[in-house]
């Protein structure tokens, strides 16, 4: 009967319709791209079109009704200024943090979700098997457990618990009022729904901050390199001190009363080589993006206005949505402004009417690796004279579209066994990391109180709350104090302990303790009138505790030079230092390379490039060509020199590469050194040959570029990528100058994520900017609105409002009321 004529068109239409419904109703894989269900996504009433915010923001605010927020005890008014910064006016702290959760979630919910999933090892739940390796690694490194322990301890403090829960409830109030059409676009694209927030997720984000800043170590590379080169060559290439730098806290004889413990003599570093079957594909260590920052404070005697001034710019990977979020919190007791990490209550870096503070990274290593003597691999191991059983932690990792993966991680007394792949050079090693240890229960409360500090004593009382987040904390107070402290949990080690892999079968190789608070380097009101830090060495060689870690050798020198030469510091002078493109690295290296260059081997074309370089002022200005030529030349020369190390790396042996400052010293003082011989050629090269070959190669490479593409800002090509890695949501080719070796440390995906200058005059003057926008929604006019201004060195005036009646530069307001 169905084959009667009249059924055929119907069957055909029905078939086509069902096909269309199926195709448009489910996510599709088209080659590499995963498309969401297109029917949902393109539906103008619930899909991505709903995320297209009206550009007329003022009108949007006028129609906004008051929000009833459960748990609120009083009325809270939020004013949004013309940069979409919320200014929260509350009657008490808890109400303020509750609303902070709500307004942050409103702008940055997906970012908060993604970052908390990163540390929780729960990316694969929503992104599928492609993130499984990342999830396994973060859990095996112990970060997930560290966050769980953090919250277990912190919640025992009443104050902390109330703040974290209020914040979390605020976030959830926002989530609960959303319908699927209101979800942020990334949820729609990736095809999952937001889940409720918890204080544990805030702890995850804090752990992410700690690990991103302090999680690096080079123990494996150092051990291999020492074993391959022998002690003399190793020490020759990798000295631990560079005498041109100024440390954060200078030696003034203050260390004499410090009596660190006398250490028993311990085992030597392992004289063995650890090869990996997996060749490393990372760049040589000298080029790795280490997160650093600059900060400095100038006291009233040195400033034009007579008021102390502080500057801070934190260098981080530059992404969209931006890593920071600005806001103001105002209660009857305190009013502070600064940047926050979305997902964590309180203000991280900022100021109030009495004080200002800022952070830079301490470059000390706080993680070590211990070789375990397994009696039964992954289960039982020897420590001194007894056999211990490893505690087994079962990690269950959900994977979208598949069965969950179960991973068993052995935890030894040292820490977790991170690598279980037998081909990995660190297979079976335990990982001892300061963040694995439980915090003090009042730590987070103290950290939250940073934004309320009024004076030097408050500052000293609050900073231990950073626990193992190792930061150089700069400080100014209206009463005239300036200070800086190298704050963190630093293991007390014997000389060179922890620089290499260690023997985990002897308990004497454990850390001897942690540097006590009163012996952490600190400086207050120095006679020179300023304090500063730029990730350089914490102290001079006289400090009794062993400093293990890399350090910046370039930015700090320039900042010190500029501050020393100034005696009437103004806001403009502070700006000129933050935006300073001058590189002491280039100023050291280029003259040496020019002297070594054999000019007789250069043709006319090469001579023009030489002329450009010879007349360069060492500034990495965006429109200049010389910086690109310099970088290509330095890279070529460096890579040609360390060809032996490259050969090792390609065979799977991770090794250290000498720092650029050491390389420059070798060029200058030891040009006949055997290191300059290029192994692949039969003749014996020296520095002159390598430098000249490098230059010839630079000329060849430069000729392959159109002249405008050789401009430093184009050659470097700053990319501010979206967290999902979608180019469409990213800002590609942002044109700006700067270099990792200059105070303006803008690189190709990394740079000053927040530039802030504060002057504690009457009234407080503050400027700030970051390369991004307050809203995480690519459909918002405030998604990336500050990038261009930041790129050209602009700053915005930051508003520390007195009350909710302000009208100037205010776009709109939103009122929050206690729920009835």
């Amino acid at each position: 009967m169905l084959f009667q004529m009249r059924w055929i068109p119907f069957s055909l239409s029905l078939f086509c319709t069902v096909l269309a419904l199926w195709f448009l109703g489910s996510p599709q894989e088209l080659g590499q791209t995963r498309l969401p269900a297109l029917g949902d996504f393109l539906n103008p009433f619930s899909g991505f079109w709903r995320n297209a915010e009206p550009a007329n923001t003022r009108a949007m605010f006028q129609t906004a009704a008051p929000v009833e927020l459960p748990g609120l005890t009083g009325k809270v008014e939020v004013l949004y200024d013309d940069n979409m910064v919320p200014h929260i006016f509350a009657e008490n702290k808890e109400d303020a943090y509750r609303v902070q959760g709500y307004v942050t979630a409103q702008h940055r919910l997906w970012q908060m979700d993604l970052v908390s999933r990163q540390v929780a090892g729960r990316l694969s739940e929503v992104l599928g098997p492609r993130t499984l390796a990342m999830d396994r690694l973060v859990r095996r490194r112990g970060l997930t457990r560290a966050a769980e322990i953090d919250w277990e301890v912190w919640r025992q403090s009443d104050e902390t618990r109330r703040i974290m829960e209020a914040y979390s409830d605020g976030v959830n109030a926002w989530i609960d009022q959303m319908r699927p059409a209101d979800y942020p676009i990334e949820f729609k694209l990736l095809g999952y729904a937001p889940e409720h927030w918890t204080p544990l997720k805030s702890a995850m984000i804090i752990e992410n901050m700690i690990d991103a800043l302090n999680g690096r170590d080079f123990d494996l590379a150092a051990t291999n390199t020492l074993a391959l080169m022998g002690r003399d060559t190793f020490d020759y290439l990798f000295p631990q001190w560079f005498d041109k730098q100024q440390p954060v806290v200078a030696d003034t004889g203050q260390w004499t009363p410090y009596k660190p413990e006398v250490f028993a003599s311990g085992a030597d570093a392992f004289s063995s080589i650890h090869r990996s079957a997996i060749p490393e594909r990372r760049l040589p260590l000298s080029w790795q993006d280490l997160s650093g920052s600059n900060n400095w404070a100038v006291d009233g005697r040195k400033s034009v206005s007579g008021a102390p001034m502080l500057a801070n710019d934190m260098h981080l990977p530059l992404k969209l949505p931006h890593v920071w979020y600005q806001l103001q919190i105002h209660t009857p007791e305190h009013s502070s402004y600064g940047v926050i990490v979305p997902g964590v209550p309180s203000i991280v870096v900022g100021f109030n009417r009495e004080t200002a503070w800022g952070f830079t990274n301490v470059s000390q290593e706080v993680a070590d690796w211990y070789r375990i003597e397994w009696v039964e691999t992954g289960r039982r191991y020897r420590l001194d004279d007894s056999i211990h059983s490893a505690e087994l932690r079962i990690e269950t990792i959900g994977v979208r579209g598949q069965e969950a993966v179960v991973d068993t991680v052995p935890w030894t007394v040292w820490g977790p066994v991170v690598h279980d792949d037998p081909d990995h050079p660190l297979a079976g090693y335990a990982y001892r990391y300061t963040t694995h240890d439980p915090p003090q229960k009042e730590d987070l409360a103290r950290f939250f109180r940073m934004n309320e500090i009024c004076c030097y004593e408050d500052y000293r009382e609050a900073i231990p709350g950073l626990d193992c987040l190792s930061q150089n904390v700069a400080f100014i107070s209206r009463s005239g104090d300036i200070a800086i402290t190298v704050q963190g949990r630093f293991p007390i080690r014997r000389y060179e302990q922890g620089r290499f892999l260690q023997d985990g079968s002897r308990s004497e190789n454990a850390w001897q303790g942690f540097v006590p608070q009163h012996q952490l380097p600190t400086m207050k009101n120095p006679s020179r009138g300023f304090v500063f830090s730029a990730n350089q060495h914490s102290t001079g060689p006289g400090y009794p505790y062993y400093y293990l870690g890399r350090f910046d050798a370039s930015r700090g020198r320039r900042i010190f030079q500029r501050l020393s030469a100034m005696d009437r510091v103004s806001i403009d002078s502070m700006k000129s230092i933050q935006l300073d493109n001058y590189s002491t690295e280039a100023a050291d290296a280029l003259p040496v390379m020019l002297r070594l260059l054999d000019r007789s081997r250069l043709d006319d074309k090469a001579q023009t490039y030489l002329q450009t370089l010879a007349s360069w002022d060492y500034r990495f200005d965006g429109s200049s060509t010389a910086p690109s030529l310099f970088r290509i030349w330095l890279d070529s020369t460096y890579i040609r020199t360390w060809d032996e190390l490259d050969a090792l790396r390609s065979q799977g042996t991770e090794v250290l590469y000498p720092e650029v400052w050491r390389f420059t010293q070798l060029l200058e003082s030891d040009p006949e050194s055997v290191f300059f011989d290029h192994k692949e050629t039969p003749r014996l090269e020296n520095a002159r040959d390598i430098v000249t070959e490098g230059f010839l190669q630079t000329v060849r490479r430069a000729q392959g570029y159109a002249p405008s593409d050789l401009e430093w800002q184009r050659y470097k090509g700053l990319k501010i990528g979206h967290l999902s890695r979608l180019d469409g949501f990213s800002r590609l080719q942002v044109l700006t100058g700067g270099d990792g070796s200059a105070p303006n440390a803008t690189k190709s995906e990394h740079g000053p994520s927040w530039r802030m200058i504060v002057e504690l005059s009457e009234p407080v003057r503050a400027l700030g900017i970051y390369p991004g926008g307050q809203s995480g929604n690519p459909g918002s006019p405030f998604y990336d609105n500050m990038i261009d201004s930041w790129a050209s060195g602009g700053y915005l005036d930051l508003l520390l409002l007195d009350g909710p009646d302000a009208t100037e530069r205010i776009l709109g307001r939103r009122t929050f009321l206690p729920a009835q």
Binding site: R6, W7, P9, F10, L12, S13, L14, C16, T17, A20, L21, L24, G25, T33, L38, G39, D40, L42, N43, P44, F45, S46, G47, F48, W49, R50, N51, A52, E53, P54, A55, N56, I185, L189, L726, D727, G728, F729, P778, G779, S780, P781, Y783
Partner: protein
Amino acid sequence: MKKFFWALVLVLVAGNMLRFVLPWWGIVLAGLLAGAWLAAPRWVAAGAFTGGLLFWGGSALLQDIGNEGILSGRVGAVFGGLSGSQMVLLTAVLGGLLALLGGLCGAYGRKALFPAVSEPT
């Protein structure tokens, strides 16, 4: 000819009511209702397509204009280099196709199930 306009109007009206209660495929249902009511497949197809095109395209366009094209350009880039206007067009055409398919099902379905009742086109 009248059926063309009726199909268009029915899709717009039904679509605008169903969108509050149904997901994206509500537009298919709107087309289905128009087709079942009017039972003239060719006019219904044309009318439903145009109605769906105007409905989805119009809504997308309004939101795009209010947004000054910020988002459509970015999403277009994610969709393999389409422009913002092309995203509006894509949305409009999709709405039209979905309504058309629903309309055909409705029209041919009525003709198949109730051949005596259907009027000649």
